[in-house]
Amino acid sequence: MKTLYDKLWDDHVVHDFDDDTSLIYIDRHLIHEVTSAQAFDGLRLANRKPWRLNTNLAVPDHNVPTKNREVINDPISKIQLEALEENCKSMGITKFDMFDPRQGIVHVIGPEQGACLPGMTIVCGDSHTSTNGALGALAFGIGTSDVEHVLATQCLVLKKDKNMLVNIMGRTGKGISAKDIILNIIRKIGTAGGTGYAIEFAGDVIRSLSMEGRMTICNMSIEAGSRFGLIAVDKTTIDYVENRPYSPTNDEWVNAVNIWEKLKSDSDAHFDKVVEIDASKIEPQVTWGTSPEMVVSINNTIPDPAETKNSVKSEGYKNALSYMNLKPGMKFNQIKIDKVFIGSCTNSRIEDLREAADIVKGKKVSKDVKLAMVVPGSGLIKRQAEDEGLAKIFIDSGFEWREPGCSMCLGMNPDQLQSGERCASTSNRNFEGRQGPGGRTHLASPSMVAAAAIAGHFVDIRDF
């Protein structure tokens, strides 16, 4: 009678306090350069040592340039990268440096290395840690104080969330990918729809998705308000995990698989909230505004705030339209794109790159597009894409083929939008200024973004 979330929670309780909170054990701690420096400082000031060194894995990703990374021009970026290097070295924490072929976006390399496994509790000072929930793990983002807490105690004091089930039934149509599914879910439940809940994604569609697709869905559960996205373990999960560098082997593997196969919600488990989605009705999704819930289908027009009854929401729509320089009733094929970004922890895995390459093969990026770039999620994905011939397809089409990192998802590195530029992006947040001050972001799937690069504006991928 337990949900997957209940099971993972119960497995990690060290102590139940009498005020509704519990001390929860953390199996894996991933570290990047932006949210860790103050935590290491806090440890030193209090004269504390890390509780368990061998569980931490660090990688720089937010600040690293995606070309010419030998030289970091931004002095403040440089300080942050150096601080991570020094902190890991002095504490004895394993770190993949910028030139290590295993380096990449922290949420991409965790599963890729088998450092993130089913049944684990996984934290990182980054909200998109929810990505790892696709493995059947309890994975969530934390603030810097909690990074320090985990380093010092290997535990966190948490209050249990409620359970939500998002059931995606039926079959998706042609050209519909995991990104369309999660954007459609956010459109339906809103950016606060999952606040206070752990969301388990289930149903026929989830079962038929690859691990890459499942990670895309769990990645954006935070955009639906939930810290936790979860997917039950099945054969797809086990096959993905097998033979990864840090995965168990031999007898331990057999033992682990026996345990992992039980990581699913019981058939009679209670969910506090259930959302049903009919997959056959999902069309290619594109965001038009400055919140991930401001999303419509490609053939819809830009919405009119006047048609929204809620005055706060209507005001939000007006602000978003003004920031995005759009008018109600406009069609997507009237909206010209300046830059194209394929990458981020949402959509930079090999399957995403295959999906995009399939669209651009033999075609050229529109001359109206100033820059189109592909940024693989890790050095290993980059190498695989080169071996498969995907890199050549992108380059021949006019895309720049870059080194792995967070890149233009958040513009903490040289990859940024200039003020007023409009970007078709496979990333996860269309907030004001997210990709660069004054930049305008439209989120969509890899194939939709790839097609936008060719056409110079968004098009319906089903007709492309």
């Binding site: 932006v34 949210t35 300080i79 105690t153």
Partner: protein, 214 residues
């Protein structure tokens, strides 16, 4: 951590929903490796007319005269009033550090992003959840009373304006205690060291792969 004490301060109204942590403190300003100094760039893109591409802290910026926090007396506000889902998005604790560094001690909103909400309590900062109708009333009060002030009493769980409007709020008991006592959460957890060791020993027997070296 410092203890949270009852205080009276000016309320700055910011009538928007879904204010994300990227807006509270844009990523260009996350690069400091300290916890202080972020107040200067709180709501940077709304607060300044010019962008500061080099993020040089010594450059004098051009204030946006229409932004509430640039107007007197709101430049000295200690309470922020906002709409639902305040602090959604990125986990950056810098958002709380920036609000706090500016001088804010509390936020009033109907709801919050989960990670932001949790981060507040690690920094002696109080996110108060009020009903939508109370938030509506407060926005109206700020319109008719320039520089409206309120007293925030965490112990007794109320906010009272100088127009004598009183709003009670609920809060999780453990979070309330943490702020009132200014507890060092890590020290408290370390009191359970034996329980943590015991848990690790049991887990290491059952799931040894969880303890392999990274």
């Amino acid at each position: 951590m410092k203890t949270f004490k009852t205080f009276t301060g000016i309320i700055a109204p910011l009538d928007r929903s879904n204010i994300d942590t990227d807006t509270i403190i844009p990523k260009e300003y996350l690069k400091s490796i300290k916890r202080t100094g972020f107040g200067l760039n709180l709501f940077d893109s709304w607060r300044y007319i010019d962008s500061n591409e080099n993020t040089n802290q010594n450059i004098k910026r051009k204030d946006n005269p229409n932004f509430i926090l640039n107007k007197s007396p709101y430049n000295k506000a200690e309470i922020l009033l906002a709409r639902e889902n305040f602090g959604c998005g990125s986990s950056r604790e810098h958002a709380v550090w920036a609000l706090s560094d500016f001088g804010f001690k509390a936020v009033l909103a109907p709801s919050y992003g989960d990670i932001f909400y949790s981060n507040c309590f690690k920094n002696g900062f109080l996110p108060i959840k009020l009903k939508n109708k109370d938030i509506d009333l407060l926005f109206n009060l700020t319109k008719s009373n320039q520089g409206l002030k309120a007293t925030v009493d965490l112990e007794k769980q109320f906010v009272e304006t100088n127009t004598d409007n009183k709003f009670r709020f609920d809060i999780e008991p453990n979070l309330k205690v943490r702020l009132l006592k200014g507890l060092d959460e890590i020290a408290l957890t370390l009191e359970y060291s034996d329980a943590i060791y015991k848990y690790e020993r049991t887990r290491a027997k059952m799931n040894p792969w969880l303890f392999k070296d990274i």
